[in-house]
Symmetry: C2
Subunit: 549 residues, 2 copies
């Protein structure tokens, strides 16, 4: 089978665009040649060069995962349907340049145990060519992960003559001669999942981490607690989830669950960035006595039995938050934490006489200032934890001044002001920014709404080059008012794939027409790998859509 | 444990509304008393009275199914999560009126092997009361199916003292003293699933048949073929699916698959009503040569390579359709078939010179008349098959006259004219009608859109009582442009449950506020039984939503 004379004839039956052109998200530079290499299925493996770190666990586990994704995933459906005949896939390949059994991987550094804000995801791939080999090269383990995901998308099924059985064909895989140089446009490419409005099971989150890695996302923004429930089990304050979760046995994330998710994400080059939203969106923190503001009935002057945002007047609340955030800081390896700060409703603060008195004493004149006081006191208090922060845009809208070096502003409001204006404002003030506003995927629309997500250009606002350089990336958000584990995966994917390419690929990769067959392919690929992801661009089929149960 | 003195104390901790008030769809008459009966889990079974048919397979299989749904489904999640502790559910019950081990079922007739248009679904349930027993009474097996679904919704988990272990509690089930007299408002309560735009796997259809039975739907309108694919495997014309399906091995319904679905539906009291839509929506029938109209380029006067609706001028086409429909009639036991007839586009017919000539010869002046000619010829040709028909509204809008006894008009257009006007028109002409227009569930909206479905009243049009008596029922439609097996179940349910209650329950059951906690409960119940159905009314949780994988 080795070194057969190459012929292009059989390949003409391949559908266009050719497979390397369908990699999602589109690589920065990609050259595909006409030389075709067969994969030696029995001996196929990833081979580390001698000068690469040999014991890099993330890389070694990824080799195992991708070996099976490549060998099985591209030839059969991950959810087998036994009663149907298996049939041979792909075009007939009568001859190939060579047979490949190794993909050689070379990388420098396995120093970072967890992916970080400065993770280096750059990689190159040479398939065939002058060296006649398949070489992957990257600086870090994270680059290796991105490279082998790309390779898994370059490989395609073909049929070749079975030399053991005259005239019959057998299934194998092939890859075209290809050169790729690739790196992300933005360093922050996130998915927000809200596990407070509805609980999302750990297995379903892992499924979504898989999908994220197939789309080269690198930040899981875990909106873990909110008004509706507090599923995070704190070792220091177990009463928070005992009283604040929907069910303290079944609807919580234990320390082991959280560690499991962090490690699962790490293995896929994904940072886990938790959000503990205060001072608003914290009603489920009720187990911590005195934390929430007591709301008053303004007619009777008595407490009305309800609670509002965190009470910013009590020193013990800052002590509590220090203790909680220092635990969070220990649990989550990422240097960033999302502090929230959105949609703080002032009515309860206004109704509370102690708060009025406090403001008078401190000379605080507006509730925006009070929020600012709260946030600055919190941040000063936890400063020795050396964390960096994301905050929702209102924090800046309301005039809070925070350190520009360690803070990223998360722009989310798709309404007044419209996000391009907000992007202009926030970057004008010199803040780094992560854009989420056009990517609230919880809002659903009939039809191919992925196109609008794809068309949303982060730089699409009035501003200087300096301002635009402050864009760190973006994230798609799945708030869980109307989703739980039953349907979050098909609702997110492949709609979120549109965001993946916008954040990874070059700005000029911006044609929905060109993207359509490719996003359909990544949809089919994810289905083939066993994920429940749904069609988003009209009638049609995927190889494995018959295999859902 | 027998004949304990009854005490209401423990039951006060039950959440309101009480469980029998939450049956979905709401029974016609329901009286709940305060007497509570424990279920003897070890000996619980359904018992037939001696004068009931003893060998009625549908009933016997339903007993098995519901015995396990009641015993397991209400105490644990169908998808177990092994690592979580099982805990006892429900309020503590300190004493009960009596322990029940039997539910006695009495019914008259098991004559119909398959449910039909005249199926009798009426039933009564007495739990406790003067007789001190649980009795179900129905005329037919179909009534028994509806009754035991209701019973499965009346039973709820409680904790009782474990007499073997002092001071400890154990899990059991209870049911309140209840009287129910129930029957459907409409005899036709359907769900349309489109298996042409995307293929829907057999297992996923079965999952939806389960959900239908939990909601007392009784018609599966199988929109089996269309322009996009022809997955129905015909024994007489195997080339139709060979050439017309997305994949003739994996994306087809074999005769065994079809029989499997019919039987699965039959066991749940659900009719399977297939639609073979002609003369439009038939591009996937291309394997039958000459069937489709050749379209012409009007400038060159030559065929343009595309095809249009069925060619109504060729006698052999009617022969073919006769053969196909006689096979369909043999395969599907239902006396009704849906003939389609919607959205016939006339451009191709207009372009074709043979058609123009045919119209001249026959004195046919308009294309509406040509469509009418086609449909009448088809119906005359297949008249000896003794089928009854559903047709989409355009057939009547275009002035076709069909037998009013054997035809039901399916009103679907939610736009001009708005459906209440169309309902008025169609019933004024004396046609029976099935309403689908307000229930196109493939159109998705953010938020609790089930309320609009619930508010859509079939009688909400200007018309006489006689006209309103022509309403046979309604059906919710899931066209599959944007769904496949990955997400059709969470997209349909429990949104379709809103339609279920509208079609089963009394017209005066029309408050979305009153329905909200009940539709949430049926959502949780379906999840508990292992179905992927999604939240539709804002944040919250179900007992089993943590168990999705």
């Amino acid at each position: 089978m080795k070194s057969l004379v190459f012929s292009l004839v059989a390949l003409l039956s391949l559908s266009t665009p050719s497979l390397s052109q369908t990699v999602w998200p589109k690589p920065q530079k990609l050259l595909e040649r006409e030389d075709v290499y067969l994969i030696d299925l029995e001996n196929f493996h990833f081979l580390l060069t001698p000068n690469s770190p040999q014991e890099c666990a993330v890389v070694i586990r990824a080799f195992e995962r991708y070996r099976s994704l490549i060998l099985e995933g591209t030839t059969t459906c991950a959810r087998p349907v036994p009663k149907k005949k298996t049939k041979l896939l792909g075009p007939i390949l009568r001859s190939a340049s060579e047979t490949l059994s190794n993909i050689t991987i070379s990388f420098q550094s396995c120093e970072e145990e967890y992916p970080s804000t400065s993770m280096d995801e750059r990689y190159t791939i040479h398939v065939g060519g002058v060296e006649g080999l398949t070489n992957v090269s990257a600086n870090t383990a994270w680059g290796v992960l991105r490279a082998i995901e790309t390779i898994s998308q370059l490989v395609y099924p073909v049929q070749v003559e079975d030399t053991d059985r005259n005239g019959e064909f057998k299934q194998t895989l092939a890859i075209n001669g290809t050169f790729i140089l690739d790196y992300p446009r933005y360093s922050y490419r996130g998915i927000l999942i809200d596990t407070s409005r509805h609980y999302i099971p750990v297995d379903v989150m892992k499924e979504n981490l898989d999908a994220m890695s197939y789309n080269k996302f690198n930040v899981f923004h875990w909106h873990i607690v909110d008004d509706h429930s507090f599923p995070f089990v704190s070792k220091k304050f177990p009463q928070l989830s005992e009283k604040g979760s929907y069910d303290s046995e079944t609807h919580v994330y234990t320390p082991e669950d959280v560690q499991d998710i962090i490690n699962y994400a790490r293995d896929r080059g994904i940072r886990v960035l938790p959000e503990f939203d205060t001072p608003g969106h914290s009603l489920a923190w009720k187990a911590q006595e005195g934390l929430l503001t007591t709301c008053y009935n303004t007619t009777t002057g008595l407490p009305d039995g309800t609670f509002g945002p965190v009470d910013p007047t009590k020193e013990e609340n800052y002590h509590f938050l220090y203790e909680l955030f220092s635990e969070v800081n220990q649990v989550f390896p990422d240097s960033y934490i999302h502090l929230g700060g959105d949609e703080v409703e002032f009515d309860c603060w206004k109704s509370n006489p102690q708060i009025t008195k406090f403001m008078e004493t401190k000379g605080i004149e507006t509730y925006e200032e009070l929020e600012s006081f709260y946030l600055n006191t919190l941040i000063n208090n936890i400063s020795n934890l050396n964390m960096s922060y994301l905050v929702w845009q209102e924090v800046i809208d309301n005039g809070v001044e925070i350190d520009r070096e360690s803070t990223i502003v998360n722009v989310w409001r798709w309404y007044t002001p419209e996000w391009p204006i907000e992007m202009e404002n926030v970057t004008e003030k010199g803040y780094k920014v992560v854009l989420s506003a056009p990517w609230y995927l919880n809002y659903i629309h009939y039809g191919p709404d992925w196109r609008a997500y794809y068309d949303s250009e982060p730089e699409g606002f009035n501003g200087t080059a300096q301002q635009k350089a402050l864009i760190v990336g973006g994230s798609a958000c799945m708030w869980s008012e109307y989703v739980d584990g039953s349907g979050i995966t098909p609702r997110l994917w492949p709609r979120a794939s549109a965001v993946a390419e916008r954040l990874w690929s070059d700005k000029r990769v911006n044609s929905t027409d060109e993207a359509t067959p490719r996003i359909k392919r990544v949809q089919c690929l994810m289905q083939q790998r066993g994920l429940r992801v749904e069609p988003i661009d009209g009638p049609g089929f995927c190889l494995c859509d018959h295999a859902f149960k």
